[in-house]
Symmetry: C2
Amino acid sequence: MISYNSLFNFTFEVFSKMGCNNADAELATKVLLKADVRGVDSHGIARLSGYVRLWEAGRINTKPNIKVIREKYATATVDGDAGLGLVVAPKAMEVAIEKTHHHACGWVSVQNSNHFGIAGYHAMMALEHDMIGFAMTNASPLVAPTFSVDRMLGTNPIAVAIPAKEQPAFVADFATTTAANGKLEILQRKNLEAPLGWIQDKDGIHTKDSHALKSGGSLLPLGGDREHSSHKGYCLGSIVDIFSAVLSGASYGPWVPPFVSFLPLPENPPGKGIGHFLGAMAIDGFREKEEFLSHMDNWINAFRNAKTVEGEERVLIPGDPEREIEHERLTVGIPLLQPVMDDLEKLGEKFNIKLD
Amino acid sequence: MISYNSLFNFTFEVFSKMGCNNADAELATKVLLKADVRGVDSHGIARLSGYVRLWEAGRINTKPNIKVIREKYATATVDGDAGLGLVVAPKAMEVAIEKTHHHACGWVSVQNSNHFGIAGYHAMMALEHDMIGFAMTNASPLVAPTFSVDRMLGTNPIAVAIPAKEQPAFVADFATTTAANGKLEILQRKNLEAPLGWIQDKDGIHTKDSHALKSGGSLLPLGGDREHSSHKGYCLGSIVDIFSAVLSGASYGPWVPPFVSFLPLPENPPGKGIGHFLGAMAIDGFREKEEFLSHMDNWINAFRNAKTVEGEERVLIPGDPEREIEHERLTVGIPLLQPVMDDLEKLGEKFNIKLD
């Protein structure tokens, strides 16, 4: 168990040594560790060394000139200047929120960025303003469209955050695949089989082999197979890709740059870097805010009180599990796996920083 | 086989006899039959008698005063005045498109409406303006959240239409369940079993019994079970419900009014009628339009040319199957099942209209 504060100080120092100014290092740390405190262990501190390697490979610019390159009323496009997605995305979300103050909604497509941590962080920024928040991003291709063996899409997550009154906010944040890659990685580490419907092998045959991605296999879109509507997951992943990248001028589909530094960048990319799509909507553009918030409480209560299947404890509201873990981890501390601890130790040596 | 024109004339007459003015009858007919020509047989002419029965039960107002009851810059709320969703939704979508001309996007939440046909129709209205279109609606509760046995959500579809240049538009239009209710109805009629993962019985046990909904069972959210991420389908259906109804002041969750006239209206509904959420975004709010359209062609080509799983003919782009059926049915005619023909005959007798 490591306390949030210890991890925060360490991570802040790493980003600082990479060349981030104080404000950016603080923001990147906050965004990155939000994954760890919310229990999305694959997207947090475990990836810190990956960001460092990408920076060493010259693929991350820690002194980016992030700017709006086009805007029209409620919409804008932001160039992230190859910065950390952890910094680019929240700054673009600020633009969306600012626009919402003036136009009742705001939508920002982002080009030339990098991995942005958990989508939920950015969507939840809207909650502080009693707005509805949206965040999505494309990602390195690991997912085959229905009927295909080619990896054409990333796990392309969607997050939507909706405020309530007495109840905690509704926060959906999910990959558009049957299983997030992080879940698969856990099985790989333990050498366990994956459920059928998560992955296919290089020939498109569904497999339980959790290592199938290493030999040309793919993750499957939400739904799993055609009979269970994998084409819907394929639609969702495609929409995220198009809004994040075709709209912004980022790279899309099979050309999205890989998160790992040992894989080469795709040749002749049709755009710049990874793309995101961020947005916000003002409640009172549609309805009196207090009225909406009360009805959200009513909605949440109705679903929370729905009858459970025998053996299940309760019906969850999107965001419940993450919020509960967040409360626990901020109090008790954050558990880290040994490989992650080893990674941090090496980073500490590289940058002469101590984790304590 | 019946020609589109014959069906059009018949349906137009039915809506006219129900009291719609000419413009509304024409619009409702166009929207309703779009389902038949695009191969979504469950949502088209097969439902005409259902609309008539709801009208007879006093639940549909064929002379509605559809109006914007609130608006703020790019957002608005429309009251459908209990009109046909087939008329209310395209009119609300016109508001979204008009707003997009002025604010680069437009979002309209709709209360007090009824079933709006296929979501794709409304989203595709944006294509004529080279805009991206969105449409979603809540619907009568048939779907149980993950871990629950209670029907709390409808099949709550999402449609997104994105224009391209030489390529036909990308049109996603799908229920947020593993299987649309229409597909289940086909199995019921033929007394066939459903694949596991589509439905559960009244105790929440997955079943192949395609009639399980008649004895307290439910449709399952996209994903099917927790292991295959049914919570993501539950998130999607919830988002549609909240945007369509909590935002507009329509009824939501278990209180959404049933489409069939023989079921009573829920007591103490928290809102008015069914809700929709419609939207549009201008391409050039983000990027030069021609540039975007060319990249959409490139995106579509890349996915169309992805390698197929052996035995599969091709990788589809969302909208391909419906467009191909549309071309065929407008040329050759629309096949109708005998029960639907019988239904139309009875309607013809009731209103003294001939189908020829």
